[in-house]
Amino acid sequence: MAVIAHDPSRPTQTHAEVTRDVLKSITDKPTTGYYILVAVMAFLTLVLFATVTAELKYGLGIAGYAPPVMWSVYITTFVFWVGIGHAGTLISAILFLFRSPWRTAVYRSTEAMTVFAVMTAALFPIIHIGREWVFYWLIPYPNQRYLWPNFKSPLMWDVFAISTYLTVSSTFLMIGLVPDIAAVRDNVSGWKKKVYGALSLGWTGADSQWRHYTRAYLYLAALATPLVLSVHSVVSWDFASSIVPGWHGTIFAPYFVAGAIYSGVGMVFTLIIPLRKVLKFEHMITDYHFDNLGKLTLFVGTILFYAYAMEYFVAWYSGSTFEQVTFFRRALGPNWWAGWSMIICNAFVSQLLWFRKIRTNMTSLFVISIFINIGMWFERYVIVVSSLTNDYVPYAWGQINPTFADWFLLAGSFGWFGLWFALFYKNFPIVAIQELKELIPMPRRKLDGGAH
């Protein structure tokens, strides 16, 4: 038998070692550090709900809303979190269709990130409504006033896009989890066995189950692929179908999708670099995976670079005074700090990833990922706020300063997201056991190669 160079996408373990290594993260007792993490996240979640309660009592005024800026940090944070979700679906669904084997080791954590990020994002439009208790008016239902929602409004499109995205990405995550939960069930005892047994929905890995499962997974991936591209396009049309200078751009849909994936991969780095150290998964999530994720970041970061340049160019080239003034003020107006944070953190920092040394160095990747998170939040802040501050009539120009409520909600959103993610990675397999096993050839008795 010829000796073949090791394919880096292929795990080095046997099937039994994969089960053992992944399940160790669930069966090991949580450390003190884990409890501290959960406590901090739970505290921040309390801050979130306390702020929402305060807002219910005192109204949206505590978020500093005043004409002309009625969309500010809440909508910024909403777009930020929806964007984070996109990298997860890209890695789990799109790369599945493209048969990229490197996705396997990281896709479960990114898919979980997607679901929790969309759960976080979905809070914000509801908080932003101000009268949260009537949010169900957005859903078309027969009512005694004979009213129906206006489906020509992009905000209604958004309701459908986000709720579809939340439903489909959670289904995709849960379907992927079922065989892995069955593996957990077979390796724990007592009440845990009962709980995981119920969650595994009677999965045994029988041929009659795999037969439908593998096909269905393919179709779910095929459905999730256009969905992920559509969701952030729809979010971008919340802005682009208005006539506000700085929002009214045809470039918005691809620009937002690229930005979403960029911010999402940034968050993937922020999450899995510490995670793989804590769980000792270095042999499963290797430099090879980070190298590929780095290339993906570089690719979408470069699209963003182009989009930023094009936005300024088109603003100038359009000859429209209003567009020109908006973009002049974006770079040199009162919000110049936000405008430059976005350009430096996204367009320029991403270009460091041309170097392989940087793509495979965990410290540099982690630092870059923090820049990406900050930069992408500022991008949305710039688009939402700086466009609203200067409308067509200079008399109506205004400013907004985020208040404590804005900052508390932003910090709280990280707590809410982090709490879900922390609980998830300790209780469910954070690396897809069955998909890793699919990559590992099973032992053979005869060395004749077999069907593949």
């Binding site: 039994a16 020509k152 890995g205 029988a206 041929d207 179709y219 069907a451 593949h452």
Partner: protein
């Protein structure tokens, strides 16, 4: 508790051995096999030789239903509560494409999931033995058969290379 299905359960460590056993059993007329594996495997699929899962019809029908429902809902609701926006038609199709698309994906996904569950349930596994090692690194082949045929089945499994054979007949 469901009554146990009488038969023989073979456990394999090697993929080629399991495939040989499946082919041997199929040739001997045992069609109602249950093959357990921790991950999907093309060689096993080829040996079992099932047709492609009909779950794709569920996806297709769900997707088409969602698409129709999306357009029908928006057009009907727009006409039921006419809102004149920017001089556009009451039922503005381009705007409703988004809704039609989202519902295609939503309903298509949900029927696909329903498809996995319902199609998997159509072949009952009640009373068939299972070993926790099948979700780890072993392949299991369960052959339902009457006690008089059990000895022959056991031999086929052992000859193919089964590392453990259990008779429950």
């Amino acid at each position: 508790m469901a009554k146990n299905v009488p038969g023989v359960l073979g456990s394999f460590e090697h993929i080629d051995a399991a495939c040989d056993a499946i082919r041997g059993l199929k040739a001997a007329g045992h069609d109602d096999l249950t093959v357990y594996s921790a991950a999907p495997n093309h060689e096993l699929e080829a040996a079992i030789g099932d047709k492609i899962s009909p779950v794709r019809m569920w996806t297709l029908i769900g997707g088409l239903t969602g698409c129709t429902a999306g357009f029908a809902m928006t057009i009907w609701m727009a006409r039921e509560w006419p809102l004149l926006v920017g001089g556009k038609p009451i039922a503005a199709i381009p705007a409703f494409v988004v809704l039609g698309f989202e519902l295609t994906i939503l309903v298509g996904s949900l029927t696909t999931v329903a498809g996995i569950i319902i199609l998997s349930m159509m072949r009952s596994l009640k009373g068939r033995p299972f070993d926790p090692r099948f979700s780890d690194d072993r392949i299991g082949v369960f052959v339902p058969c009457s006690p008089d045929k059990a000895a022959a089945v056991e031999r086929t499994l052992t000859d193919a290379g089964s590392v453990e054979v259990l008779r429950d007949a």
